[in-house]
Amino acid sequence: MVEAVDTRAEPAGATNGIGAYLVKHMREYGLLFALIAIMVFFQVVTDGTLLRPVNITNLFLQNSYIIIMALGMLIVIVSGNIDLSVGSVMGFIGALAAVLIVQWGLPVPLAILACVMVGIGIGAAQGYWVAYWKIPSFIVTLAGMLVFRGLSLWLLEGQSVGPFPQSFQVLSTGFIPDIFGVGRPNVTAIAAGLVAVALIVWLGVRDRAHNRKYGIEGEPAGFFIARNLIVAGALLFVAYKLSTFRGLPNVLISMVVLTVIYAFLTENTTLGRRIYALGGNEKAAKLSGIKTERLTFLAFVNMGMLAALAGLIFAARLNTATPKAGFAVELDVIAAVFIGGASMSGGVGKIVGAVVGAFIMGVMNNGMSIMGIGIDYQQVIKGLVLLAAVCFDVYNKQKQG
């Protein structure tokens, strides 16, 4: 406007070459390599048990509810809040499902719908206090944690209720039948793996083209290829392993679909962008015309819905609702999100990171259990891993200044 564009660089981390790129994106690669390293480690120390088809299937079944809640928790944390109640809510919804289906004999689809609606209602109730009354989410959801823990006990009268009918168990323990009719190996599973790989590569290539077009400093070509080869190899490996067992678990499909939806929502939509802005600087977001209260409210509504879903899947997997269900699960979920690179102060974090974070926790749980490490040591090790991951984040951030 006043003078010709001056291209003099502002102070910023100068990035030259592969080394500098790696330093700058240490967190993303670090997470992926950490997962791989942990898997290789446990594969070796468990004499190959970790990656047996049946155990891979178990890994997905065991961690599905954590991953599903991590999706919602990421959004809550990015918006600058926290939800401590998700474990209790999950347990409460499982209890509710048991009462509705087992004791009242309600049809399964109707009961599922009712449970999800109740989950949404719980999220709305907590979100209301946080968003419109500005009560710190820590307090509101700490209260919620106690309330719903108590309500599950009351609903179940301190007893376990079960078993569920087959039509409900399928939610968690069902498998996608092989549409190609081969059965074993399950061709559908392999085909799904191939499609997923093709999609990931295609999206990656498209992204690179966009970056080149606008002169954004992209990933060096070698890295791009290596990263995609690793991811593709891992996906095909898992797909093949699953195909030699019972094929694709239903839960895996729900998980993948939800992950894709939420990744798209957070990264490509105005809604997602506004949530990041809200977490990054609430006052600035508000003065930019963003309805910050409503977004906070919606983040909790969404969390409630996902907690309900997780509760249903968990109850279906155990085939019974117990008053203990979901105890301390919120801590695993929150840990997964922070290991995945989200920031306590809000505005930072990715869906994919949260999912990988949940898998890191999951593989460690599973691997240590196979090794026969006691629950006491497991907790200690998980705690230290969480601390290390966050220290790594803070260190990285300070270095970049």
């Binding site: 490509n268 802005a277 600087n281």
Partner: protein, 506 residues
């Protein structure tokens, strides 16, 4: 008379910016030394070097204090030898008493148990010295800014101050409080306290200063001696800006069109203290292509007026009307105000204007995401094109629009905020202190952008505490005092004196 402090060839660089370039400053024992210069000239940086906020080793040059080479590695070191700095933002804990604040971190205690008798006795003694008649148990929160300033000075005295540094001490004070503060400085001087006062108010500088050092763009321009002969304000201003006043503001063809926006009978109450009315019956108009100023002291209610109009972002029980081209518009929430054609560029860009950890691109599109998305899905390509367009148009200096704004200089950050609001397509822009904390070159660019907007027929409301800037840029100036618009002056009528007299005679 000997030199208490000598700063020799101080050079301080931040990544990409040379904030101080071989600055020299000599302060004599027992004098009041004024440090003047424009915002961003480097005064505060120099004081941070002196007080050890930037520790020894992070800058080049030498500091000699009391005849010895000093190497402060933190603020504790400088305080230990009697250098106390009082910042513009007061560092008092509002919900502690005066006595607790005075001895915070320096408690009168034996083995961790506070000796309250001693504390109160000493507090009363110190309060007497600064002329404050409040009891020591009063909460700082309940004092006005002027009295809080005095508490800060009392706190400095409690630490056996030898060199007192005051950063814009009177910026937020009323005329009477300012006079009292300046009198206190002279009083302290007679007791042998040396002080450095940073101020924009040249009349105050002339009143108390023995010598005046002018800093511009990180360099010492001159040190003027006011004891032998009076220094004129013109002389100081010339050194401060380095050119004649006439060329500080780009020319604009002034032609105001029809009335664009009108605010009628605007009343606002304080958001927490329900009995306190902050804005009294404000009426103002903005014509197309007109730059309208709102002058006033800090705390006069200008920001409150602007923010209450912009989507009720401030205050409660707001009443009154806003009209755009004669039609009433809905400004009951920020998004409605934006939709009705308003934009507000905040005075506090870091906490209210930008998402610092986000990229330039994402900050620019934040207030108008609709324009870069289809059914809620953002088009990255469109977004990048928009960002690139504004980078070129506003001359934002950055290697790429994917830089985080936290890495930009103040001037470039301000251009990002302006870009955000221009992209929202407003008819009337409210600019609150648009050039605060940015360097002279960037200021000129911001002024040029304002002129461009006016040429496009947009209305601009400008709030600024820098009087010359208001006089140089505005077609018409409203004067505000204690929440009331007390007068209106055209560019031809307006002068610093007339604005001040409107404020004072109210």
């Amino acid at each position: 008379m000997t030199a208490l402090l000598e700063m020799r060839s101080i050079t301080k660089t931040f990544p990409g910016v040379k904030a101080l370039d071989t600055v020299n400053l000599t302060v004599m024992e027992g004098e009041i030394h004024a440090l003047v210069g424009e915002n961003g000239a480097g005064k505060s940086t120099l004081m941070k070097v002196l007080s050890g906020v930037y520790p020894s080793g992070t800058y080049d040059g030498e500091i000699h204090y009391d005849g010895k080479l000093a190497a402060f590695s933190g603020i504790n070191d400088s305080e230990a030898v009697g250098i106390i700095i009082i910042h513009q933002e007061l560092a008092l804990v509002p919900l502690l008493s005066i006595a607790e604040n005075l001895f915070l971190g320096n408690e009168r205690a034996a083995r961790g148990v506070i000796n309250w008798r001693e504390t109160f006795r000493r507090t009363e003694e110190l309060l007497r010295k600064v002329g404050l008649a409040e009891p020591p148990t009063v909460l700082v929160d309940s004092l006005g800014v002027g009295k809080q300033q005095l508490v800060e000075i009392a706190k400095a005295l409690s630490k056996d101050v030898r060199l007192l540094i005051l950063d814009e001490p009177t910026a937020a004070l009323s005329e009477a409080d300012s006079q009292a503060l300046l009198d206190l400085l002279l009083e302290l001087k007679s007791h042998g306290v040396t002080s450095i006062i940073i101020s924009h108010k040249l009349n105050e500088v002339r009143r108390v200063a023995d010598r005046i050092t002018v800093i511009r763009d990180g360099s010492t321009i001159s040190t003027l001696d006011a004891r032998t002969e009076p220094v004129t304000e013109d002389r100081i201003v010339r050194d401060m800006v380095g050119r004649d006043m006439a060329h500080r503001y780009p020319d604009r063809e002034r032609r105001a069109g029809d009335i664009l926006m009108e605010v009628r009978n605007w009343n606002v109450w304080h958001p927490e203290h329900s009995g306190r009315q902050v804005i009294h019956d404000a009426n103002l108009t903005v014509r197309a292509g007109e730059v309208v100023g709102i002058a006033g002291l800090m705390g006069a209610g200008r920001t409150e007026l602007a923010m209450s109009i912009f989507g009720r972002s401030y205050g409660r029980n707001i009443s009154g009307e806003v009209l755009m081209r004669g039609e009433p518009i809905d400004v009951s929430s920020v998004d409605r105000a934006i939709a009705a054609g308003l934009a507000y560029v905040t005075e506090d860009r870091k906490t209210l204007g930008l998402v610092l950890d986000e990229t330039i691109e994402r900050n620019i599109t934040l207030a108008n995401l609709k324009a870069v998305s289809t059914r809620g899905v953002i088009s990255e390509a469109r977004e990048t094109m928009v960002a690139e367009k504004y980078r070129a148009a506003m001359n934002i200096r950055t290697p790429s629009v994917f830089q985080k704004v936290v890495n930009l200089s103040g001037g470039n950050q301000q251009k990002v905020v302006l870009s955000k609001w221009l992209f929202a397509g407003p008819e009337v822009l409210i600019l609150d202190e648009p050039t605060r904390g940015i360097d002279v070159g960037a200021k000129f660019e911001i002024y040029s952008i304002i002129n461009e907007l006016s040429a496009q027929g947009k209305g601009v409301i400008m709030i600024s505490s820098e009087m010359p800037e208001m006089l140089g840029m505005c077609d018409r100036i409203y004067v505000m005092n204690e929440g009331t618009l007390v007068g209106e002056l055209t560019a031809a009528e307006a002068s610093q004196e007339r604005i001040m007299s409107l404020i004072v005679t109210d």
